[in-house]
Amino acid sequence: MNELLKVLSLAFAACLALSSVGVHAQQQMVLDNVTLNQFLSDQLAAREGATGNHANNWAVLVSTSRFWFNYRHLANVLSMYRTVKRLGIPDSQIILMLADDVACNPRNAFPGTVYNNADRALDLYSNNIEVDYRGYEVTVDTLLRVLTDKVDPTTTPRSKRLLTDENSNIFIYLTGHGGNEFLKFQDAEEVSAFDLADAFAQMWETKRYHEILFMIDTCQANTMYSKFYSPNVLAVGSSELDESSYSHHADSDVGVAVIDRFTYYNLEFLERVDKGSELTMKDLIESYDPVKIHSHAGVRTDLYKRNLSEVRITDFFGNVQAVEIDEDDDD
């Protein structure tokens, strides 16, 4: 018995030692500012600063939740989907990923509909929505493959691929349940901030974006962009570390919350934006009120070279096509 106790004590001490080694290794993985700036400079130098021109817009909209009680997450994504479509991004340039188990849910008092407001003025589910990945297709692996385009080109249709290039501005919106540097996918798995950061790094190296606007509405959302290290990424989150994000209101007839606060106030701002709007990202960021949102929305700009007051909302939420008028040729 004494020997067994001794062995157990040794094992316990070994575990403590291993844990401290692991924690120390993780701390070292965080890039300090100096290292990060140097890395960014090296990245840009490797591409000789050529990051293309903004010539087209894409959107990746993901609801990582399923089940009826996460109705609001689906409504969040569909609201953003409607907004970007209204501002000009065509379906062919939108990747929409959601569990899609709400509209036709037996609990839905209004079958075939999804509302983001208790007044039920706008049905988000009608009118020509194209869901690219639904149900159990919405996985971490799928998301990362879509972002990095590591899909089987012979079996994956074009409509389900993010066909971006170095001239593409991408709006990436994630919503669901999250925590400290992780985001839960359909109650089955998690994607970590490191995974997303490395995916963006791959996108940068393979020239798959010009600029990215990363927006996330989850609990402790701001931690999800803390590990990014690729250039030209502008990140916005709904809540700080150890903060929750909250729903805005519930619909008593639907029976669940129908929209989250952070997304609600984003939409309130975006409803004022049309295709020719001069409103900027600075205006959007300044519109965030912690009193209304009930959390502290954050923004990360150190990876983003442009001044937010010069970045139009439509640079990410709208669509741009570079057009050249043909001249008369003397061929």
Partner: protein, 517 residues
């Protein structure tokens, strides 16, 4: 209390403990290492670096004894101090060195006094151009263009690129002094112009769409005519004619195949506030882009990324018949790089004119910009010939290959958790082999005759393999697992096994020591 252990029981216990350890060490550990180690095939990173160096050195194409084209830039007043001019010169030279066609020509600024070399036709362009704003070059500066070819006449490529570069950034742009360096540092104009073409130059699919707007006056003569089967079969016949012309043109030396399809679509306009009506009133480039949104025609990017390597690149060509009511604008057209072209009919639809425009748009979309030649009496636009833009496409493919392989090297080096399948190694090796084959051929003296197609094929293959390698679907990053999660998984799994094993082994060792004493 149990009695003392018998000798047989002691031997049995030792055998059991040692057997478990044998299984653990000989079978368990290797199996665990094998199944948890990330397979990373070694990539020839040093060979990739060699390709990069060869490209920067110009692929052996620079020849100092080649013809030089000297151009004067006239300014009305001297402006910048010499140091600033030197900075501009260095920046220009750096830009040109990094340009995709740098092995084909070289741009160098020299002082006007060094005028011993003969001048060519580019002089006319410079002297007849709008004088430089005073905040750009100093009065004594000239630009010399080197063309390392065996041709006795100046290469048209250099002229076109020079024109595109200089016209856009030095002659016609007015910049403040403070932004001047930045202005000439912006290579996106020339790079994006060159990237307008189909980089891989393998196969092109042309999609012609006749789009008819239907409004309340859909019984108008023009709409009725457009809806008639006769008109639509005429449309298809004209589109096929364009396709046949392109197939039999010198473009065929540049491509492996050109296919096409035609379609007829309808855009329904419900009220006067429709997007179409607004576009008609204000046909500025910003508004024109809205047309594509409402049509939702699948825009396909053809730039450095080829999404599906087995499918041809698609160029869309749309002939739009707007509502006849109130339409008094003449026909006009526009192109979108790497997407296609649009022709909007005027008062009288003219299919022949539209097809002529489409043909020009195809050339425009697949080749560098046309350049202006001024022979003293008039200026005219000339497009590079097929073999010339085949050379440019070759260089672009080679550069794309190096960039892609370098990016792959950086990713594999920085992301240690990324699996690298053996297939990726094979693809990289194939890319390097094709690269060398292309470079060997491009250095041949008969590059400008039939052989440039072979060169282009090798270069396109190299770029294709490189892209397949970097986008290999099995080259995925292992998911990040927090260390505490690993402890949480391994501890309950291994603990109940390892603790008795250690205890058993420890007891055997203690007994052995006691026996020795």
């Amino acid at each position: 209390m149990l009695g003392p252990e018998s000798a047989e029981a002691l031997v049995l216990r030792r055998k059991v403990v040692l057997s478990f350890w044998a299984v653990f060490v000989i079978l368990g550990l290797p199996l665990w290492i094998h199944t948890t180690t990330i397979h990373r095939a070694p990539l020839p990173l040093s060979a990739v670096k060699v390709l990069d160096d060869e490209l920067k050195d110009g692929l052996g194409l620079h020849r100092d004894d080649g013809p030089r084209l000297r151009v004067s830039i006239e300014v009305k007043e001297s402006c910048l101090v010499r140091t600033t001019t030197d900075e501009i010169r260095q920046e220009l030279e750096r830009l040109v060195r990094s340009d995709v066609a740098s092995p084909l020509f070289r741009l160098e600024l020299v002082h006007r006094q060094e005028s011993s070399l003969p001048r060519y036709g580019l002089d006319c362009i410079a002297s007849n151009s709008t004088p430089l704003p005073k905040t750009t070059m100093s009065d004594g500066d000239e630009i010399t263009v080197y063309i390392p070819t065996n041709n006795s006449s100046p290469g048209i490529i250099a002229t076109g690129l020079y024109d595109a570069f200089m016209a856009d950034y030095l002659f016609f742009n007015k910049h403040d002094l403070g932004s001047n360096i930045q202005a000439v540092s912006d290579t996106t104009g020339i790079v994006s112009t060159m990237h307008r073409g189909a980089t891989y130059a393998d196969a092109i699919h042309l999609s012609f769409t006749l789009l008819i707007a239907l409004d309340s006056s859909s019984t108008s003569t023009r709409t009725v005519e457009a809806l008639s089967p006769t008109f639509q079969s005429e449309w298809r016949a004209h589109a096929e004619n364009v396709w046949n012309t392109l197939r039999s043109s010198e473009l065929s030396r540049y491509l492996t195949s050109v296919t096409f399809d035609t379609d007829v679509g309808f855009q329904y306009i419900t009220d006067g506030n429709s997007e179409w009506a607004r576009v008609e009133q204000d046909a500025s480039p910003d508004r024109l882009s809205i047309l594509l949104d409402t049509w939702d025609l699948q825009p396909v990017t053809l730039l450095t990324t080829t999404p599906n390597s087995s499918a041809p690149k698609v160029l869309q060509f749309v002939y739009f018949l707007p509502p006849e009511s109130g339409n008094t604008k003449p026909s006009f057209s526009f192109t979108i790089a790497n997407w296609g072209g649009v022709v909007i009919a005027g008062e009288s639809p003219d299919l022949v004119a539209a097809m002529r425009t489409f043909k020009k748009q195809v050339y425009k979309l697949m080749s560098p910009v046309a350049f202006t030649v001024n022979d003293g009496t008039k200026s005219r636009k000339v497009r590079p010939r097929a073999h010339e833009f085949a050379r440019i496409a070759t260089i672009m493919n080679l550069q794309g290959t190096v960039e892609t392989l370098s990016a792959l090297s950086r990713l594999v080096t920085s992301l240690q958790e990324m699996a690298v399948p053996s297939k990726v190694r094979e693809l990289v090796d194939n890319a390097i082999t094709e690269w060398h084959a292309a470079v060997t051929n491009i250095q041949q003296p008969d590059i400008d005759t039939l052989s440039e197609n072979r060169v282009l094929r090798h270069a396109a293959a190299a770029a294709h393999y490189a892209r397949q390698a970097i986008f290999d679907k099995d080259m995925m990053l292992n998911m990040f697992v927090p260390f505490e999660h690993k402890i949480a998984v391994y501890l309950p799994l291994l603990g109940p096994v390892i603790v008795p094993l250690i205890a058993g082994l420890r007891r055997i060792i203690i007994e052995a020591r006691r026996k020795e004493k």
